[in-house]
Symmetry: C3
Subunit: 146 residues, 3 copies
């Protein structure tokens, strides 16, 4: 993994055979990035994605086989149990340009992994929301619609 | 809806059963955000998406049924009739990880709605372009290719 | 093409019948943008996308016919042979809201093209990586996992 930082912006390159979620999480821990936004593109393999079943309150998991283009990666960083936690959703495509996608559990770079991370100097954290069944983001201010 | 602001960056959490487009638009109005970029992920329901028919100059509309992962939300904020207007496109996925997408009319958070908005201190606005058939963005400077 | 700049953020509008990759590349050259992140939405036509075959080390190319919604465009700018180079992946959808996607070779605006570019004041460049078979991003710092 390589990176370059300019103020709160990080250009990140995850190399072939490196795991994306593991690398980004470790990078945030080591660089004290507690909150942020991360997006990127690349080509990946050994991908596990999922969808949240709001009734059963469990994640349905599925392996996405083969080498796939990572055509959209959008995620955020918050604190969960006081540690940086990356939550990301992806869109993937195969050699026929067909797409699939979902919540990203893990994927490994097959060719290139090109990301931008913007650090957010906040204190957003996750706490279990029993109604949703997931650790949900808690932020400083409430906004109510009239 | 909750939010946290650091300078021009807003971390936004739209809660279960809140409408995404309505909430973001109202947030921009109340916070005097006239221009910006907004992106995010989540899990949604009661979704209406569309595609613009460039020949008929109308939007084809379609309901995307059930609870879906919001795997990409990319949008911008401009002024339309002097009010903040959110234009967004989405990619959605179901429990089989199959995807669909288009122009977003409205969707409601089914589990979580996690967004970043970056305010742009410009004066971009929309004006009807009769050739296109839509209110199109007008910006300060023209760029011409040699 | 129109644009508005506020510090390192550029709001870019690519007009009907203008080519997206060619316009963005020329814009970066003329505005001395060597590194950056660019994302956007729109409606496009005459689109050529692809997927990288990691075994054969060639791009598979495919035309995506007709007018399509550009529902996600995510890319970056680096120097390649000392010139700004735009690398982007897209997700597209048709009038049935079905999606396809991949590496973007070129596409032309069919209705609107709405982009945000954030300049990154770095010196990221691409150099042929023989193992991958592509010009890969080189950044200043190495990050190694413990």
């Amino acid at each position: 993994m390589q990176y370059e930082r300019v103020e709160q912006d990080y250009f990140i390159y995850i190399e072939k055979n490196e795991k994306v979620m593991h690398s980004l999480t470790q990078f945030c821990i080591d660089n004290k990035i507690q909150n942020g936004k991360v997006s990127g593109i690349g080509a990946v393999k050994e991908t596990e994605i999922g969808a949240y079943d709001t009734l059963e309150k469990i994640y349905i998991r599925k392996e996405a086989p083969g080498v796939l283009e990572l055509i959209s990666f959008e995620g955020n960083i918050t604190l969960k149990d006081s540690q940086p936690f990356v939550h990301a959703h992806v869109v993937l495509s195969n050699h026929d340009m067909n797409t699939l996608g979902g919540h990203l559990f893990e994927t490994t770079v097959a060719a290139v992994g090109e990301f931008f991370l913007r650090k957010f100097e906040g204190k957003a954290f996750r706490k279990l929301n029993e109604d949703v069944g997931l650790p949900c983001i808690c932020l400083d201010n409430k906004f109510s619609m009239q």
